[in-house]
């Protein structure tokens, strides 16, 4: 995202409003009475203002439809992420997180990274979160645990989140504004690949028809060792989980035999 001139104050203000809203929304016990009564409404209002500010501060995307879809999915991702940490019920937190992931996947789709967008849904929302929901639904006792009801350090976490968000946005905005060619020495593999690959389409807005094929060739060409190592790591984790389970069963039956 490239920042337009003069947008930085607006951006920082929005981030500050976002952090303040987050602090108000986080469940806490140490607030004054009047603040406690108004905190949720005030927090939502600040959050909405922050969203509006962020929407205004960014660069325009081009077409009206594209812009609208981008803003909507971005808002979905932000609201979902905020609600994930703010809500008290673990099941609702998981569902809000799934919504945030859907928003992120939508952002990736709008920006042309189709494979990443769809893979985010398949891997996170489709597999991992369903497992989480399973466990939460099966293991939820009546009522909420203390760690669900109260947030530990609402002020510190809101400030830390706000500072991180502001720094990242500003620095990424600066970085992508200038061409990064200065600091990169092209490697031999890069040069070979550049020579072998067909020329990129002239229109950067058009979808790359071979994006997925290119990504696959890159993953299973240059980064083959990393992919294999990640696969091996997952396999080891799987075997480890089975080993832990079977050892637990063995210990249990030994205990029963002793009794």
């Amino acid at each position: 995202m490239t920042l337009p001139d003069g947008a930085t104050p607006l951006l920082l203000g929005s981030v500050a409003a976002f952090a303040a809203g987050l602090w108000l929304l986080l469940p806490s016990v140490q607030r004054a009475g009047w603040l406690e009564r108004w905190s949720s409404r005030l927090g939502v209002a600040l959050g909405a203002a922050a969203l509006a500010g962020l929407a205004l501060a960014g660069r325009r995307l081009g077409g009206l439809g594209e812009e609208a879809v981008f803003q909507i999915v971005a808002a979905v991702a932000l609201v979902g992420g905020t609600a994930t940490v703010v809500t008290r019920s673990p099941v609702y937190a998981a569902i809000w997180f799934a919504l945030a992931l859907t928003g992120v996947a939508g952002l990736l789709l709008v920006l042309g990274a189709q494979f990443l967008g769809v893979a985010t849904i398949v891997v996170y929302a489709g597999a991992i979160l369903v497992m989480f929901l399973f466990v939460l639904m099966l293991a939820q006792p009546t009522g909420l645990a203390p760690y669900d009801r109260v947030s530990n350090e609402p002020l510190l976490s809101a400030v830390a989140g706000g500072v991180l968000l502001a720094l990242l946005t500003v620095s990424i905005g600066r970085l992508s504004a200038e061409p990064p060619a200065c600091c990169q020495v092209p490697s031999r593999a890069d040069a070979v690949a550049a020579a072998a690959a067909p020329a990129r389409p002239a229109d950067p807005a058009a979808l790359d028809a071979d994006a997925v094929a290119r990504l696959g060739a890159e993953l299973f060409g240059r980064h083959l060792v990393a992919v294999e190592a990640a696969g091996l790591l997952l396999l080891v984790a799987l075997v480890g989980a089975i080993a832990v389970v079977s050892r637990g069963e063995a210990a249990e039956s030994a205990e029963r035999g002793a009794a």
Binding site: V122, A125, A213, R256
Partner: protein, 434 residues
């Protein structure tokens, strides 16, 4: 103001969405009627044949039945029990229907139209809502995994034991069978070299060899897995009526129940689409349709008709299977997924990968026709070996005799001890005379 007007591509997409959603909803309604007719035929009775044109005596073989069914279920009381989690209870049916419909954005429902010559609209116009989506197959996967949420949340939010058990069973089943489904699909993607469903159809039309013939093992694995994904008999454990009343939608009534039922039917239609597109050649038929993307209007309609006819055939097969096999037990279901379908899917994938890797070498050394025969023969050899191995080494997975092993729990429950003795305080109950 030009930016505010929708472009020709947008209008074309909206028209396609309208046609597709309208067609799918009508098809779902009439497929319910077809299912009832087939059930009646299998059970040797007449089935619904009364309702015809409203307010007249014309019966029309019962073709008015979907209208009557729909009106009846919409006009029923939409009751919300007091013990449910209201937000999720209301969201679940909407979520599942939205996800099931959005799947069709990436599924082609025909070939292409001949050039229309409309400014701003790239020719030829494909029968596909999102033609630029390069990850069609993954999109289908992603959205069907979103549909799992509808089932899980519907079951949990109902706050009802039957509903919850149905939701858990369903999501466990869907997650387990996504793996063999994906393995069956990977073989096709590998052979076609594209994740786009329209390209997969074009690849089959170009070679003339449908993937069901080139990858028989993958076809069987995918077929079984898609029955499980659509939760059709013999995999309809999520809503096994005899055990769970209605499974995850036990507490639903009226139009929200209708949304769940339509979503289930859409899952079956999606499965039929995928089977036809990926394994049965899509719109291609030897000697009738041709292979390229240059078509006349008659050719385009013919391809559409052939694709629809194939899909209808697969759906009829689904419905006949429903009345031909009993339901699996849950352990059998899981054994089948993890111990039979997963290894078979892997065997198919390895075979296809080997064939695709060896094909250029074979063409060079033994000639192209011999290479073609080998490329089809090797998967068939794998199919036979896999079938024999699966049949010989997993016989117990369909055995219904109770397993009388002495597990850790059996110390507390003596198998010879009659539990009725405890109920009657040590005195054996006499069978009451009836």
């Amino acid at each position: 103001m030009n930016a505010l007007l929708p472009s020709a591509t947008t209008i074309a997409a909206l028209v396609k969405i309208g046609l597709l959603v309208g067609g799918l909803m009508t098809a779902a309604a009439y497929l319910v009627l077809l299912e009832r007719w087939i059930a009646a035929w299998v059970q040797d009775r007449k089935g619904p044949n009364r309702v015809g044109i409203p307010l007249t005596d014309i019966r029309l073989f019962g073709l008015g039945q979907p209208l009557a069914d729909g009106l009846k279920i919409i006009l029923k009381e939409d009751f919300t029990p007091s013990h449910v989690d209201r937000v999720l209870y209301n969201a679940a049916p909407l979520l599942i229907l939205a996800a099931s419909l959005a799947i069709f954005a990436a599924i082609p429902f025909g070939s292409v139209l001949p050039p229309l010559g409309i400014a701003g609209l790239p020719d030829p116009v494909p029968f596909l809502v999102a033609p630029g989506l390069d990850v069609g197959v993954l999109w289908v996967f992603a959205l069907s995994s979103i549909a799992v949420y509808g089932v899980l949340l519907g079951g949990w939010a109902s706050n009802n034991k039957y509903g919850f058990l149905g939701g858990l069973r369903s999501s466990a089943q869907l997650v387990a069978y996504e793996i063999p489904l994906g393995l069956g699909l990977l073989g096709v993607v590998l052979a076609a070299g594209s994740l786009r469903l329209d390209r997969i159809m074009e690849a089959q039309a170009a070679s003339g060899v449908w993937y069901a013939f080139a990858q028989p093992l993958g076809f069987v694995v995918f077929l079984v897995a898609s029955f499980a994904e659509a939760a059709r008999l013999p995999f309809d454990l999520p809503e096994a009526e005899q055990e769970l009343v209605g499974g995850y939608h036990t507490e639903y009534s009226g139009i929200r129940l209708l949304l769940f039922l339509v979503a289930e039917f859409l899952h079956m239609i999606t499965a039929a689409f995928l089977i036809v597109i990926m394994f049965l050649g899509g719109w291609h038929l030897w000697g009738v349709t041709g292979a390229g993307t240059e078509v006349t209007w008659a050719g385009a309609l013919l391809r559409f008709a052939i694709l629809s006819a194939k899909i209808l055939g697969v759906i009829v097969f689904f419905m006949l299977v429903r009345w031909s096999w009993p339901r699996f037990r849950f352990d059998q279901l899981m054994n089948l997924a993890w111990k039979v379908m997963l290894p078979l899917g892997l065997a198919n994938l390895v075979t296809v990968a080997a064939v695709e890797e060896l094909r250029p070498w074979l063409v060079e050394h033994v000639g192209s026709s011999a290479a073609g025969w080998l490329a089809v023969g090797l998967p068939w050899a794998t199919f036979l070996v896999g079938w024999i191995v699966a049949g010989v080494f997993t016989p117990s997975s369909t055995d219904n005799t109770p397993i009388l092993t002495h597990g850790p729990l059996d110390a507390e429950h003596d198998l010879d001890h009659d539990p009725l003795d405890d109920v009657a305080g040590g005195h054996r109950l006499e069978a009451s005379p009836r």
